[in-house]
């Protein structure tokens, strides 16, 4: 698969990363190698083989619906780059587009 510059730009945008000049060429080569590896795997005939999503087959353990306070309000805010006494503070955003 040809990794184009447009694709790099799209992926970078989705990952909120920025690549300048030679960085962009380097990441393009990296991604080409990664995609090449997957393409190699795709050559294997997997018809009738169920996808393996987890390496162990143990089913999920469930938790009782019980409230436990693990961290306090103050602890929660403490490590944030910016906050006031109530909220986390982030640069202003408007479009909630999810």
């Amino acid at each position: 698969m040809k990794i184009t510059e447009e694709l790099i730009d799209k992926l970078a945008n989705l990952a909120r990363l920025e690549f300048q000049g030679s960085e962009k060429a380097a990441i393009r080569e990296d991604i080409e190698r990664m995609v090449g590896f997957i393409e190699k795997l795709n050559e294997v005939n997997t018809e009738g083989v169920l996808p393996l999503t987890h390496i162990h087959a143990e089913p999920i353990p469930l938790r009782e619906d019980r409230v436990v306070e693990e961290v306090s309000h103050e602890q929660a805010l403490k490590n944030a780059p910016d906050h006031d006494s109530d909220y986390f503070r982030v640069p202003r955003v408007l479009d909630k587009d999810n």
Partner: protein
Amino acid sequence: MLDYRAVIGLEIHAQLLTKSKIFSKDSAAYGGEPNHYISPVSLGHPGTLPVVNQACVEHAVLTGLALGCEITRENLFARKNYFYADLPKGYQVSQDKTPVCTGGGIRIRKSDGSDKWVRIHRIHMEEDSGKSIHDQDPFHTLVDLNRAGVGLIEIVSEADIADAEEAMAYLGEIRKIVRYIGICDGNMEEGSLRCDANISVMKQDAKVWGTKVEVKNMNSISNVGRAINYEIARQIELLEKGEVIRQQTRTWDASKGATVSMRDKESAHDYRYFPEPDLPLLVITDTYIDRVRLKLPKLPHELYAEYTREMKLPEQDAVILTENRQFAEYFSALVSEGIGPKAAANWCLGSVRSWLNAQALSIEHYPLSPSALSKIIMLVEEGKVSNTIARDKLLPLVLESPNANPIEIAQQAGWILEVAGDALGELIASVLEKFPQKVEEFRSGKTGLLGFFVGQVMQASAGKYDPKVINQEVQKKLSDS
């Protein structure tokens, strides 16, 4: 409009009524102080791992059973990736390829009396995001993560809905069901029930659906109706002008009464779903489903059938009685106390409902238990107290002191009706003696005079007898001699 028809599907997010969040132990309550219901998991701290709350799975399965869905046995969670400040991990844990429920549907009733089956496409489990506040600080967005990680189910309908009325009826039915089964409080103003609509229009005879537009942020059933009507009209107008409809996400602006573009398809998201590596397969067994099925209460349509077919109540009465599970249960309890269904329905839809409306309270707050109310109704049924006295005088007194014995109150107030006997016989005789002329006229065929005699006897007896009894006795007396 006549040349066109609309194709509508709804996506309903229902916040699950659990104590703790779906993947962590912090409280899932609404309305806490900002950033107090949080945990390392819901804050998205590195190295933390999610553990599924069994109550969320149970709620999702219960919903699927109530809506007649197929329950998926092997469930995977998936990451839906996007960046937003109130989504601390940078992804939402959701379900992609294996929604917990598929198929099923619900019958809606339309205003013309007809009904329609609306199919469910799928129901999946996911976590809610936090809340962003944009209008408190001019330079920052403030983030509250109390809601981050609260369990949700998303109920996706098939595009079976044809207009605003059907959409509102469908949403109303879904809200009724989630409340009946107790998995969601259905409060659209507080956002515990949220609805998005996918709307497209096409010519009546067209084979291919039109381009769909998604409308968000309609926070009440009536806004869903308004937004759909607006959007259908907008799309038809564009088509009539020969313009194309752009695939868009639009937001409903209730103050403008219009939908406004949020983003075009070109800037649509690429969520890059992939299986959540931190959560292994969730297996739902037949035994588990059978156990959850036992928790299913009688559903509104089942109660409706019972009330109209077995109890022979009018349809309109049955609709109102089943609007709310607790109200229906109160009515059913009255009937179990031995009150006839029609009388029980009249009391519930009359005195009880008007008291609740006046106080703006729900039936859980009604001061009288079904058994206490049945004592009052019984007095009427047995002819001991007149219906009017019971409703207008006795009931208000008992409502004020719910522990009082209604019979004692009625006795003290002198509201107990005398039973027919010699005293009544003599009273009637004396009245008839006073009006020999009228008695003559009655006997020669002027039967309309019966009311006159009953009125005279009632007056003479100062309301001590049930009018029904007087009526019977007067008739008897007039035909006797």
